[in-house]
């Protein structure tokens, strides 16, 4: 029996039992929709997280004083290292390092006219913060020579006070101990949306290190953000930095961490979540598949006599098996195509309505389709075998 003839036979059967076929396809369609939607949501979550790290941050190595917790009681607790400009110089001369940007940070109350708010104030080296400098919305970024100038995060500028903040306005900052200092706004940052691991720039104020001295005395940095010259070698470069620093901080503690290892761990978690979601879809497919087996068994039972006729006029077991198997697979193919089309549509709709990151990829669609076809094919094996094994004499005498 040639394949096109089997197909013709199968299609002929569809047109004769539309209702039954549609009903049995529903389980598969729903299963495929579930797989596509859940995978797309999973991909979206993952993309959202990776996006929050961003390409720019994966090459970042963070050096902090203090750091690792003592693993055992007996381990000596080292004093936290003081990170100073000397460390900056050492780090910047380490192989593979592009730049080292020191930061300090404190939490301060903000007063604008007679209104108050609070935010974290971050001191930076303006020339080493290219990413922040690139995200200025109005005004300008800090300059090396600035002292009591401040760049304001988007949300603080927009919603912290009754009036929107603009460059040229003055803010008074109060540190916990009571120190206060007036700053002039020189620039407003554009919206970052998702926060980064270094905090949430939308809700931060940025000043120069000299500027922060007006609120508190610092003789060291709380953080050094080191940029590696390649994402691939981040771990190796972090090791180089560690070696260089360990020479001058023999008995002091500092911590070095890379975002890459962190992001890989998180990506791993999201991959797991994604496949868990797809697993839920697979369960609905399984249920759909059992439904298909059931319907195919009924179809075989309905057509016992017909199978007898097929055999009497020369159909081999293989012909009969192929006919029923193909009928089942084709059901999966049609249901799968409908399922992925609806699944993609529903995913995009969820993304639109829920303002949620949704990523529909070709591989998700192919996977959905493949699972649909696979399920129905497997579901068809048993009924098709039963059909092929029928004894023609008994089948012909069947009422």
């Amino acid at each position: 029996m040639k394949l096109p003839d089997v197909l013709e036979y199968v299609v002929l059967d569809y047109s004769n039992s539309k209702f039954k076929t549609t009903l049995s396809s529903l389980g598969i369609i729903i299963g495929v929709i579930a797989i596509v939607v859940l995978l797309s949501v999973g991909e979206g979550l993952q993309a959202g997280v990776s996006g929050a790290f961003g390409e720019l941050e994966l090459d970042t190595i963070i050096v902090m004083p203090g750091g690792q917790m003592a693993h055992t009681q007996r381990q000596a607790v080292k004093a936290p290292a003081k990170l100073t400009d000397r460390d900056i110089n050492i780090i910047e001369s380490t192989a593979g390092v592009r730049s080292a940007a020191p930061r300090n940070q404190l939490y301060a109350s903000i007063q604008y006219r007679d209104r108050g708010s609070a935010a974290s104030v971050v001191s930076i080296s303006p020339t080493k913060e290219a990413v922040l400098a690139d995200s200025i919305e109005s005004g300008r970024f800090l300059m090396k020579s600035d002292v009591y100038s401040v760049v304001v995060g988007h949300d603080i500028a927009e919603i912290a006070f009754d009036a929107k903040l603009h460059p040229g306005m003055h803010l008074t900052l109060f540190e916990e101990s009571g120190e206060k200092q007036e700053y002039t706004i020189v620039g407003i940052l554009e919206e970052w949306g998702a926060g980064s691991l270094f905090g949430d720039p939308d809700n931060q104020l940025f000043v120069t290190h000299a500027g922060l001295q007006g609120l508190a005395d610092y003789d060291s940095y709380s953080q050094i953000l080191v940029k590696a010259n390649s994402v691939e070698n981040v771990e190796e470069i972090a090791n180089n930095v560690d070696k260089a620093l360990s020479r001058i901080h023999r008995n002091e503690a500092y911590a070095i961490l890379t975002l890459k290892s962190f992001s890989e761990a998180i990506t791993g978690v999201f991959t797991m979540i994604k496949y868990t979601l797809a697993g839920i879809g697979a369960i609905s497919l399984l249920v759909g598949g059992i439904g298909i087996t059931n319907v195919m068994m009924l179809t075989v039972k309905d057509r016992v006599r017909e199978i007898g006729v097929m055999k009497a006029v020369g159909a081999t077991r293989t012909d009969v098996r192929l006919t029923f198997l193909l009928e089942s697979s084709l059901l999966g193919l049609v249901s799968g195509v409908i399922g992925i089309a609806l699944g993609a549509g529903i995913s995009l709709l969820i993304g639109q309505l829920g303002n949620f990151p949704i990523v529909v990829t070709w591989s998700t669609l192919l996977l959905g389709l493949a699972f649909g076809v696979l399920t129905t094919t497997v579901a068809g094996v048993y009924p098709a075998n039963q059909a092929s094994k029928l004894d023609p004499i008994e089948a012909l005498g069947y009422e």
Partner: protein, 228 residues
């Protein structure tokens, strides 16, 4: 005359639970090309079993059935199915047409399993339907046809692969006398054209058309008579 079917020392036993039920015992028949044979006998005499064996729907428990020189016992299931499709055309009492398919497609079915091309099948099926007098009913489904018309479609289907033998099991059993007579004269015509026909029947009318009558009782041949 050429021998086309040889039934040699055939026994057929069915197993019903733990009991062996003999259906045929030591049956020997030689069928020549162009014969019109009727197999007669009461219910349970083994005539349907004999027809199923000659039709390659079943294999003998012992003995040989040789069709055009090929021993049924030595063929695989798939080879047997192929031989059946090629050499045997069945006509059943209850027609056994496939209700979902129109007359044309029913006639095409045996040719699909012999892997004839689409164009070839369509042309042949049309010609066969015209030959049995259904040229204007080709696209009707079995439900839309009368009993006699259905049996004509079944005969056209049986002839599709130009088989060596036409096997008919009570072909007029579900038809009224007049229609039955028409179907019989169709068989007669086919036989006159050289087709070998074997019928299983109770009906002395059919037996009257045949050249040889084989009588079975309790699984044995009890009489063989040549009509003049």
């Amino acid at each position: 005359m050429t021998t086309i079917v040889d039934v040699v020392n055939v026994d057929k036993t069915y197993r019903m639970g733990t009991v062996d039920v003999p259906a045929l015992r030591d049956v020997n028949i030689t069928i020549n090309d162009g014969e019109f044979i009727s197999i007669m006998g009461p219910s349970g005499s083994g005539k349907s079993t004999l027809m199923n064996l000659i039709g390659c729907l079943d294999r003998p428990t012992s003995g040989d059935i040789i069709i055009r020189g090929r021993n049924v016992n030595k063929l695989s299931d798939n080879e047997l199915a192929h031989l059946r499709g090629k050499e045997v055309g069945f006509v059943f009492q209850t027609f056994n047409l496939i209700p979902r398919m129109d007359a044309l497609r029913n006639v095409e079915l045996p040719m699909i399993y012999q892997e004839l091309s689409r164009a070839e099948r369509k042309a042949k099926a049309k010609k066969l339907l015209i030959d049995v007098g259904l040229g204007d009913r080709m696209h009707h489904k079995p439900m839309e046809l009368s009993g006699g018309e259905r049996q004509r479609v079944a005969i056209a289907r049986a002839l599709a692969n130009d088989p060596t033998i036409l096997l008919a099991d009570e072909p007029t059993g579900n038809l009224d006398t007049k229609t039955g007579a028409e179907i019989l004269s169709l068989f007669k015509k086919l036989n006159d054209d050289g087709r070998t026909i074997i019928t299983v029947t109770h009906d002395p009318e059919i037996a009257g058309y045949s050249e040889r009558i084989i009588r079975l009782r309790d699984g044995k041949i009890v009489g063989e008579k040549y009509e003049s």
